[in-house]
């Protein structure tokens, strides 16, 4: 289904290059047929707007329609589950931060950790969650020969 949506999207982008169609539509416009009331030349005013603007307006509606099909039939449901399952563990900073003493020991009490400048942890963002901690270490299954990731499993094996 996703390939179909991509194909529809590419078609929209292709249809947007409308100069390909105007000569064909102009020919149709000269003939008497059931579409005569609608088809027009690029510059012709139909329903108060130039036909080319009408065509582009139709493309806007078509884009919304394709988007509707995309969210209906190709919605990444797994993405939501994945987001909800959560790798992020909040540290309850709403309650004053892990490193702060609640009895007056604040940032002036000299208790702060040294600065962490290697990489900025997302947890420093102030985003908090009430989800409990499950595992202290990550990557402990030693996948694909990742030496760095197997430390916990090695430790356990050693125990």
């Amino acid at each position: 289904m996703r390939y179909f949506i991509v194909a529809l999207l590419v078609s929209l982008a292709w249809l947007h290059q409308d100069w390909i169609f105007w000569p064909l539509l102009a020919e149709l416009d000269n003939q008497k047929n059931f579409l005569s009331w609608l088809v027009a030349e690029e510059h012709e005013v139909k329903f108060g707007i130039p036909a080319n603007v009408g065509f582009q307006l139709f493309l806007s509606v078509a884009t919304a329609f394709v988007a509707f099909i995309a969210v209906w039939k190709a919605w990444p449901k797994e993405l939501e589950r994945w987001a909800e399952s959560g790798g992020y563990r909040g540290r309850g900073r709403d309650r004053g931060g892990r490193n702060r003493s609640r009895s007056g020991g604040g940032k002036n009490s000299g208790e702060s950790k040294p600065s962490n400048r290697q990489t900025s942890s997302p947890e420093s963002s102030g985003d908090s969650s009430d989800r409990p901690r499950r595992r202290r270490y990550r990557g402990g299954r030693g996948r694909g020969g990742n030496g760095g990731g197997s430390s916990q499993s090695q430790r356990r094996a050693g125990e």
Binding site: Q17, E42, L59, A83, S85, K107
Partner: protein, 577 residues
């Protein structure tokens, strides 16, 4: 009595604007009551925003004053092609970006607790320095964009109501600061929803009233709404047909044939004149025939070239790198919240842009007929595109209610972007600079909110002061437009970060370097943005810039060491646990 009535009428638009600002402030204060006091709520509204508010807030954030004033002006100079080139492309690209980038970034942000782009890039590319470089670039690109908003609002109110632009800037900054300070992104989202509804309604009401006034200038006069629209457009077809097509209008073709015949006649006369001058000298030749007056070779140009039309595709890609849009994405309650935004965005764009573009073409027709006087660009005799909408409303409708509504609409469009940008810069300075610098556990949640609020005040004050300094220079506008190119050129970084595991920090640096070098080179080449029609190989500069930055991203990543899979698996739903 009449004097009193006229005095009341003339001040009515300003009273309307005042009432609007009071309502906006009230809404902002009300929404701040919903503030939960946590940094998560201040930065991403506790990820609780629903579908309608997400659509309105993201749409309002992406639409600046350009959507009303700029689109009308651009249609005045270029014609209806601007609707397809900007609005329709934006509909297609924005919806796609929301679907493939927005939902994914939301999921990663929720799962890993990010509130800024830089946090994501630092972790994804395992480089603190890259994050800092991107922080600097994003801030540098967004500041001119922000200044344009303040200065445009000031100039617009000066042109329509004679207000001092410094006062306008001060008032809108104060209003926006109040509600962003109190409620953070949540208040910005509420205010944006209101403002977006206001400027959408403004466009439609202005369209209906202006169509009546334009139709009144035709032989048949005004009638029903549809008749008015039809008669107004037919008027343009008679006097300025080239504004109604992207390519070449048949009437323009006829005119071109005539001009070409005149040019060929001139060439023949010129040859004869030169032969006579050679034979008998200029004085004697002048007794035989009159020296032909120079005729320039006519050139048949489409309103917009096909290549230019295609390359407009690159402009809306910038939305993928806007830090303030990123922050709004993160406010979504769930991934499903994006659905309405993905479907509704193209329609919303069409609703705002179509009336403005059509009004712009009507204005071109009326201007050609001598029925509309548009103020000129200082120092030239060219009409100022930014003044077109104001001129149409002021001269054709002469209705203080509509003037007031238009002022409100333009301010709403400008302020709906400003508030998100202020909130976003405050968030970035707090979470990307201060918190990592002091250590992740140094500040409590309350302190983090306090710091963010201080930064919001600092950013607003700095932006206002800068706007005062740059109020009289046009260069900031030129720079602002070029900043869009910068955001677009950085788009390959976010796309690769999300979908290409092999994308490495060196690739990102290569992409940034390519963007910086070409951007500076072409910006300088365009006379620092003075040449508005500047193209590279017939394309908008951002097209080759984006393609080359994408190539640099790919080559840089392939030539450097691949990132460790175990460190980046958490960014890829299929591989993380």
């Amino acid at each position: 009595m009449n004097l009193l009535a006229s005095a009341t009428q003339s001040s009515l638009p300003l009273w309307m604007v005042g009432a609007y600002l009071v309502i906006l402030l009230g809404l902002g204060i009300f929404s701040s009551k919903l503030f939960r006091g946590t940094s998560k709520d201040y930065f991403v509204a506790s990820r609780s925003i629903g579908p309608f508010m997400l659509l309105m807030s993201v749409f309002g954030t992406t639409m600046t004053g350009f959507a009303l004033v700029g689109s009308t002006g651009k249609a005045f100079t270029t014609g209806v092609a601007v609707f397809g080139a900007v609005a329709v492309w934006s509909g297609i690209v924005h919806s796609s970006v929301f679907f493939i980038i927005g939902t994914r970034l939301w999921a990663i942000g929720k799962r890993l607790g990010y509130v800024t782009q830089v946090q994501f890039f630092r972790e994804r590319f395992q480089s603190h320095t890259l994050g800092t470089v991107l922080f600097v670039l994003l801030v540098l690109f967004i500041i001119p964009y922000l200044l344009i908003g303040i200065i445009s609002a000031g100039k617009f109110m000066q042109g329509t109501a004679g207000l001092d632009p410094r006062l306008t800037g001060l008032v809108i900054c104060a209003v926006v600061l109040t509600y962003v300070f109190l409620g953070g992104v949540r208040s910005a989202a509420w205010a944006n929803t209101f403002q977006t509804l206001v400027f959408m309604i403004t466009g439609i009401v202005a369209f209906a009233m202006i169509s009546k006034s334009v139709a009144a200038k035709t032989e048949k006069g005004s009638g029903t709404f549809l008749e008015n629209v039809k008669r107004s457009t037919e008027l343009v077809e008679q006097v300025k047909p080239e504004r109604l097509v992207r390519g070449v209008h048949p009437a323009a073709l006829d005119n071109h044939e005539e001009a070409k015949a005149k040019f060929e006649e001139y060439l023949t006369e010129k040859d004869t004149w030169e032969a006579l001058v050679n034979d008998m000298g200029e004085e004697t030749a002048a007794t035989v025939m009159e020296k032909p007056k120079e005729v320039k070779e006519p050139q048949l140009k489409p309103s917009m070239s096909r290549l230019l039309w295609i390359t407009y595709l690159f402009i809306p890609l910038s939305i993928g790198m806007f830090p303030h849009v990123f922050q709004h994405w993160l406010t979504a309650k769930s991934a499903k919240t994006f659905r309405l935004a993905i479907v509704g965005h193209p329609i919303c764009i069409a609703v705002v842009w179509l009336p403005c573009v059509i009004i712009g073409t009507w204005a071109a027709g009326l201007h050609a007929m001598g029925e509309l006087a548009v103020p000129v660009v200082p120092g030239t005799d060219k009409p100022n595109p930014s003044a077109v909408l104001g001129a149409v409303v002021g001269q054709l409708v002469q209705n203080p209610w509509l003037t007031g509504l238009l002022m409100i609409g333009v301010l709403a469009a400008i302020m709906s972007s400003l508030d998100s940008q202020f909130a976003c810069l405050g968030t970035m300075f707090t979470n990307d600079i201060v918190v990592p610098w002091k250590g992740k556990d140094y500040y409590s949640d309350e302190d983090t909110v306090k710091i963010a609020r201080c930064f919001v005040i600092g950013v607003v004050v700095a932006a206002y002061l800068l706007s005062l300094v740059l109020m009289k220079t046009a260069s900031v506008f030129n720079l602002g437009i070029w900043c869009f190119s910068g955001f677009t050129a950085l788009f390959p970084i976010v796309f690769a970060a999300l979908y290409w595991k092999r994308a490495s920090v060196m690739g990102a640096y290569a992409c940034i370097a390519m963007t910086a070098v070409l951007w500076i080179l072409w910006f300088k080449d365009s006379g620092y943005g003075a040449d508005k029609g500047y193209t590279v190989l017939g394309m908008l500069p951002m097209a080759p810039l984006t393609v080359l930055s994408a190539v640099a991203m790919i080559v840089g990543s392939l030539l450097s060491k691949a990132p460790e899979e175990r460190k980046i698996n958490k960014f890829f739903p299929n591989n993380s646990r």
